[in-house]
Symmetry: C2
Subunit: 379 residues, 2 copies
């Protein structure tokens, strides 16, 4: 067990709780807010109308900032910051992209600097209060202090963490996710599993309680994804899936494990920045390749354990193969080709990754040649 600090003040309201959003905002004395959302899904589902009515009935004024894209962009975020200068809070209705852009706006609207400076290392000193109504369980952003943004000009996809951007309240209503298209369920499953496995495989120490905690989440994601692909209306499975997403990246998996890093996310962020592929789709391609590369290069017992505990296989290789097969079965892409990325682009991608890799604070270094090797395994 390694030392750790843990602090997570997010209030999670799980279930049919979005009707309370006006009361929550009023209790915190907010009467003018920025409403941040994505493209059309919340308008189609009726959630947009529901929330607008609740806010209007409660005399809470709101400025709209819709159109957040699935890899949120710097230019769109900057527009949001301008709109947020006279509000006291932000209500994000969406998944990880909407929440991440909202966190960036929350920090930048309370400061004088440009929002990208935070992704470039500057520490926020204040932030607007942030409230979340979650529509896709995947990134865990609803209960953490991280945010990821893409700078379209420089093709950089970077992140920052600050306790100031923890949501004050996150409403997680699994019923809202019932209308989610199948491919997003699959991408979300891969994202959640990757969050857990990055820590599971790269950590310095592996206390048994944490190994089992991680395996529990991975098993639950696999089981609930299988159930939901058969019956998308299984509300219990939606609920359990949602809890997995939140637990996978709210710091619980990493308590006491020491240093760890996110190499798969580093590699995938370049795929998203260069080709705008969905984050979970990119991860489905990167993760099996990274597992193979890592097992060959530093055989540690975690790979055998993973194989045994998750897929009842007696060898690390068997486990990785079973995982890849499962990804295929649920309809996830597992090659660059399936993402529409040509093998000839591998050098270009590796260069992009190499240019930002120093910002990821990775314990194990990934030189250009290693990155190329991993990408080749994803051909």
């Amino acid at each position: 067990m390694k030392p750790f600090s843990y602090y997570n003040p997010v209030r999670v309201l799980f279930g049919d709780k979005q009707k309370y959003i006006a009361n929550i905002l009023k209790a915190d004395r907010h009467s003018e807010i920025l409403l941040v959302y994505g493209k059309n899904s919340i308008k189609k589902s009726g959630l947009y109308d529901e929330i607008c009515k609740i806010l209007k009935d409660a005399d809470i004024k709101f400025i709209e900032h819709g159109g957040v894209s699935s890899n949120p962009t710097l230019s769109h975020t900057r527009e949001g910051v301008q709109k947020a200068k006279n509000v006291t809070a932000i209500l994000a209705i969406g998944g990880g992209s909407v929440i991440d852009e909202s966190k960036a706006i929350a920090a930048a609207a309370a400061s004088e600097c440009d929002v990208w400076e935070f992704y470039d290392g500057k520490k926020p000193t204040d932030a607007l209060d942030l409230y979340v109504i979650l529509t896709i369980s995947a990134t865990g952003s609803e209960m953490n202090s991280g945010t990821v943004l893409t700078n379209e000009e420089t093709k950089e996809k970077l992140s920052f963490n600050s306790a100031l951007v923890y949501p004050k309240v996150s409403i997680i209503n699994p019923a809202i996710t019932l209308t989610l298209p199948k491919e997003y369920l699959v991408y979300s499953a891969v994202d959640i599993i990757t969050h857990v496995l990055e820590v599971y495989f790269t950590a310095e120490d592996h206390p048994k309680i944490q190994n089992r905690f991680c395996e529990n989440i991975v098993k639950s994601v696999i089981q609930t994804t299988n159930k939901l692909l058969k019956n998308p209306n299984n509300i219990n499975a939606r609920g359990e899936f949602a809890l997995c997403a939140t637990w996978a990246l709210n710091s619980l998996t990493s308590l006491g494990v020491g240093e760890y890093s996110f190499p798969n996310h580093m590699i995938e962020h370049s795929l998203s920045a260069l080709y705008n592929v969905p984050h979970g789709a990119g991860l489905a391609v990167v993760l099996p390749a990274w597992l193979k590369y890592s097992y060959v290069n530093n055989k540690n017992s975690q790979f055998d354990r993973f194989a045994k505990k998750i897929f009842s296989k007696n060898s690390a290789k068997g486990g990785i193969y079973a995982f890849k097969k499962w990804l295929q079965k649920i309809g996830a892409p597992i090659t660059l080709k399936e993402l529409g990325i040509a093998n000839e682009d591998i050098e270009k991608i590796a260069k992009n990754i190499d240019s930002v890799s120093h910002r990821w604070g990775l314990k194990q270094k990934y030189p250009y040649e290693s990155i190329k090797e991993i990408l080749k395994l994803a051909k």
Copy 2:
């Protein structure tokens, strides 16, 4: 999955962090505090001297309130409230008893009413800031908002919960627990396991992710207790044991399980109130009896699952028996007799429980005759 609300703002500093206590207090602008602790153990271990020096070096004034007993009492708490009238914060150095009494003082010192009124149903409206240096991992009080107190006059042992009494910071240094006497390790193990099993067996719903989460903690407690009885200096086992204690009662085990209740604690609190037995010792006697009674009266699949997952047994009865055997093996008492309580007292105990049972909000009712039946199983 049932709806839930979760909010836990405690900052946990895990590891050798007590040296930062003055900085932490100063950052929150506290210059005069109440120092609450138990009997002699922190003086013997040197922790008392260490913390006093740190506080003095930082010019933080402190009033001392030592002598908290292992079942903290109302009269001693009232003395603490008087001492706390001119301080802005409380530093609790101890285990659950010291923290619980400190929570009570924190709430009462910031109000005009008598402290027992909170245990009688009144809601606190304010509280002093509370900081914790944990010396025994058992009750989970370091990361929850509950407190239990014994009224020696009325022989009532009652509790209250308030978000106002969450510790602001809890320092958990497993190295501090290395000097803990063997019997306290055993009592702590039983307390932690009981916290988990109360939820595991009494909850309305049993999402698989929560079943596995609970089983993970129970397994870890059993494994680390076995290790520590062989080698008390196993610092990794101490660390994992400490994380178990904190996770067992910081609300994580109950997310999404719906209503649940604490019948074993209800029964044990009367044993402690009447005979001043250590809480964990009382639980070791009550829990196997309650398990047997409950399995016979409402055979649900959780009992079979428990037997299989924790003790690799194929029947609920086999599981309960194996658990009882394990309790014996680690040296826990498993009969009232071993606690020095005569069988003739069963009626008196049952009456005491019956008189407070309405305050426990139990989903399943425990009439006087049922309580007697459970106690008879503990003969």
